[in-house]
């Protein structure tokens, strides 16, 4: 039996319909503008699809009272334990407290209904301790923990019971909502969490070959980049955020960051967590530089999500042909297109005109992948 912590953020998605671009901190305003909740319907849809599968019997549910989970499970006829009681109207604090209760009960997985804000609140408590999977129901869903549809979450859960899923790192991204309401689009990388991954691909199973694990693939990428650095000791390497590149940064010993942009030269770390000004200063001192990026979040952005420090000025200095993209084969399979949003339309167009980029997906292993603006 697998123990699932199930949490609905009843106000997720409220802001979207009434033009608020998000609901964090403005749920009251949304209701005043006539918003109706979306999350309960999404929760019901997922649970209905799941209840129809035989694997549903092998799950035990821990949840929160009323609109935060209990109501949806009741409606789907699924037995459960309420481990956290909330007082509507609910807030982020309820989400966090519910997660602490789930952790206290040793859940194997947390399934939530919400958006990026909810994912962030959950990740702030559970970190990498248990994987999380989101039923998409927010206004923003950049984070890489969401199923495509409520039914796909049900399918992932059924696979989880059967032991057919792998646990992988996922970025938790969110729009800076205050900036956004002022008209500025700033998506930050807030954390990495664990999520379930269904290797939907083709022919990796027992008949053909065992696909290398995510970890092996990251090691292979790291090995390759270190070899490149070794061969070009004067080149400055700027390494973007995210779990894939963190593996490279860890090879330098202490000091590399998971969420920031770090710089290395000849296999040693020269600076960490750089802002735009610091990057430009480094570029002044280094005529040859490469920028290594991996797609961040669910939509495959290599620029413009979680790495705003890489401004158009920085990119122009480095030059498009010195941008190296890395991603594990699994990540690439779930990223139909690479995307950029540099904040400079001309630059975006230059990327889009390439149509394809070479992505490093293992040790000396490349794949051609489409890119669009």
């Amino acid at each position: 039996m697998a123990r699932i912590g199930f949490l609905v953020n009843p106000v997720a998605g409220l802001g979207g319909r009434v033009g608020l671009k998000g609901t964090d901190g403005v749920a009251d305003e949304a209701v005043r503008r006539g918003a109706t909740p979306v999350a309960p319907a999404k929760a019901a849809e997922m649970l209905r699809a799941l209840a129809a599968k035989p694997q549903a019997r092998l799950l035990t549910w821990l949840t929160c009272s009323g609109p935060m989970g209990e109501d949806a499970l009741n409606a789907a006829g699924l037995g459960h334990d309420v481990v956290y009681r909330c007082q509507p109207p609910t807030t982020e604090e309820d989400t966090r407290k519910a997660c602490r209760a789930f952790l206290g009960r040793g859940v194997d997985l947390i399934v939530f209904v919400g958006g990026d804000g909810t994912a962030r609140d959950i990740a702030s408590i559970v970190g990498s301790v248990v994987p999380i999977v989101g039923v998409p129901s927010g206004v923003k869903m950049h984070s890489a923990v969401f199923g495509l549809h409520p039914e796909s979450v049900a399918a992932i859960l059924a696979d989880f019971v059967g032991g057919h899923t792998a646990t992988v790192d996922a970025e938790i991204l969110d729009l800076d909502e205050d900036k956004y309401r002022e008209g500025e689009w700033v998506v930050r990388l807030y954390a990495t969490a664990k999520t379930l991954h269904e290797p939907t691909l083709i022919q990796t199973g027992k008949l053909m070959f065992e696909a290398a694990t995510e970890e092996d693939a990251r090691d292979g990428i790291a090995e390759y980049l270190l070899e490149e650095m070794d061969q070009a000791p004067d080149t400055l390497y700027l390494l973007g955020p995210g779990g894939t590149l963190h593996r490279v940064k860890q090879r330098f010993g202490a000091g590399g960051t998971l969420l920031g942009i770090d710089a290395a030269k000849g296999k040693t770390l020269v600076a960490a967590d750089l802002d735009e000004a610091a990057i430009l200063r480094l570029l002044d001192a280094h005529p040859v530089a490469k920028l290594v990026l991996s797609p961040i979040g669910a939509q495959g952005f290599i620029l413009g999500r979680g790495n705003l420090e890489l401004s158009p000025a920085v990119l122009r200095r480095i030059g498009l042909r010195n941008v190296v993209v890395v991603a594990t084969p699994d990540k690439l399979r779930h990223t139909p297109d690479l995307r950029v949003d540099t904040g400079d339309l001309e630059l975006d167009r230059e990327f889009a005109q390439k149509e394809y980029l070479f992505v490093v997906q293992g040790y000396r292993e490349m794949k051609v992948h489409p890119i669009r603006g």
Binding site: G162, G163, H164, Q203, K206, E365, M366, V368
Partner: protein, 396 residues
């Protein structure tokens, strides 16, 4: 400190596979692999062997194996380079070369050993390999043994291959393109004509693994290169005797230079005992049969056309296959599994292929046509498909 239990992990790993239903459950053939076989005590119509031409039961081939035991013994006594190189091995290689209309051939222990042993000797540091994302596992293992850069192109997508070639061209010394000729899951054929053309344009070596095309495609079953009339542009044709030719053993065919180089360099060839006389003589006889009895390949295609047409008119979806490999699409895994079980009850042996071997909504039964099936056998199998298909709700 607790004493280490050095092999306890084996059971743990195995139990994990069982829990995930990913372990192989082996079925047992009691007797020959034939159009009608005894499997787990039941007589069934065999729809999942690779014995396309039913040559594993051919009288001439069986006789050749028996005679070779009398004249040459049960085993070869050594590896080929030391003392295990018999006149039978040399004769077989001449016969393969003649059949394939190439200068020379080299016989390996298996097709797997050919891929894993030769690919890493063709390229290395400073070189690049271009490989289809769905290539067979033995190619993948061969590729992993080299220091060459690997460019993985989209399945059967020559445009993607060209993008990779273009990007790589100036930076590398040798270029090698590797593809299956026929892909064993879907039965689709690689665009070998376009691959050959790109090879020519970019000065790349072209290596085609034709395990499922030998004895099936091309003039008299000479394979995918013959099918596209591009033999001279394929530098390495890899084949196997384990499928349509009904025996076992792999080979590569190409130039004299290829053979001379490969036999001095392939570790799987140099360091593994050579085939026993019975196997080697049976392989020679299999080529005899292909060269003198064209009706086996003709029957295979007649059966394939009839079987596919009837499956489609019953209402089944048979995917994109262009070869005797015929997937019967089922959608969900549970449907494919039930269909396979019902078929077995009705006397038809065909295994389901499900997630994670294929995409989640592409579960299927993979059937493989056979030249030895009679029209009555086919009608019986189709009848079983109709009944089982209705029973599991795939047909109205």
């Amino acid at each position: 400190m607790e004493k280490r239990r050095p092999t306890a992990w084996m059971r743990e790993e195995y139990e994990k596979l069982v829990a995930a239903d990913l372990d192989w459950k082996l079925r047992v053939l009691q007797g020959p692999s034939a159009p009608r076989s005894i499997v787990d005590g039941r007589s069934v119509i065999m729809l999942c062997s690779n014995n396309y031409l039913n040559l594993s039961n051919h009288a001439r081939i069986k006789d050749a194996a028996k005679r070779a035991v009398d004249t040459h013994g049960a085993g070869s006594g050594s590896v080929r380079p030391i003392a295990g190189n018999m006149n039978l091995h040399e004769e077989l290689e001449r016969r393969i070369a003649r059949f394939k209309r190439r200068e020379a051939a080299l016989f390996y222990v298996s097709g797997f050993a050919g891929n894993a042993g030769l690919i890493p000797q063709l390229v290395g540091e400073g070189d690049a390999i271009f490989t289809d994302e769905l290539n067979h596992g033995s190619i993948i293992d061969g590729v992993r043994l080299t220091k060459a850069f690997r460019f993985i192109y989209r399945h059967n997508d020559a445009a993607d291959l060209e993008r990779a070639l273009k990007e790589a061209d100036p930076k590398f010394t040798k270029l090698l393109i590797v593809s299956d000729g026929v892909f064993s899951m879907d039965g689709d054929i690689a665009p070998v004509d376009q691959i050959a053309k790109l090879g020519e344009e970019y000065g790349a070596m072209v290596f085609i693994d034709d395990a499922h095309g030998e004895g099936v495609l091309g003039d008299g079953g000479r394979g995918v290169a013959s099918h596209f009339h591009v033999e001279e542009k394929i530098h390495v044709e890899l084949g196997t005797f384990s499928k349509a030719l009904g025996v076992v053993g792999g080979y590569v065919a190409g130039s004299n230079d290829l053979r001379n180089y490969a036999l001095n360099k392939s570790r799987t060839w140099l360091l593994s005992g050579s085939h026993p006389p019975a196997v080697t003589a049976a392989c020679i006889a299999a080529i005899d049969v292909l060269e003198t009895e064209p009706w086996h390949v003709e029957r295979l295609w007649e059966n394939t056309r009839y079987y596919k047409k009837e499956l489609v008119s019953l209402g089944f979806d048979v995917g994109n296959s262009a070869t005797p490999i015929t997937p019967v699409m089922c959608g969900e895994a549970s449907v494919a599994k039930r269909l396979s079980e019902r078929l077995f009850d009705l006397g038809v042996f065909a295994l389901p292929i499900v997630f994670p071997m294929v995409a989640r909504d592409k579960a299927r039964i993979r059937t493989i046509m056979n030249a030895g099936l009679s029209r009555e056998d086919l009608d019986e199998a189709l009848n079983a498909f109709e009944r089982a298909g209705k029973a599991v709700g795939l047909l109205k």
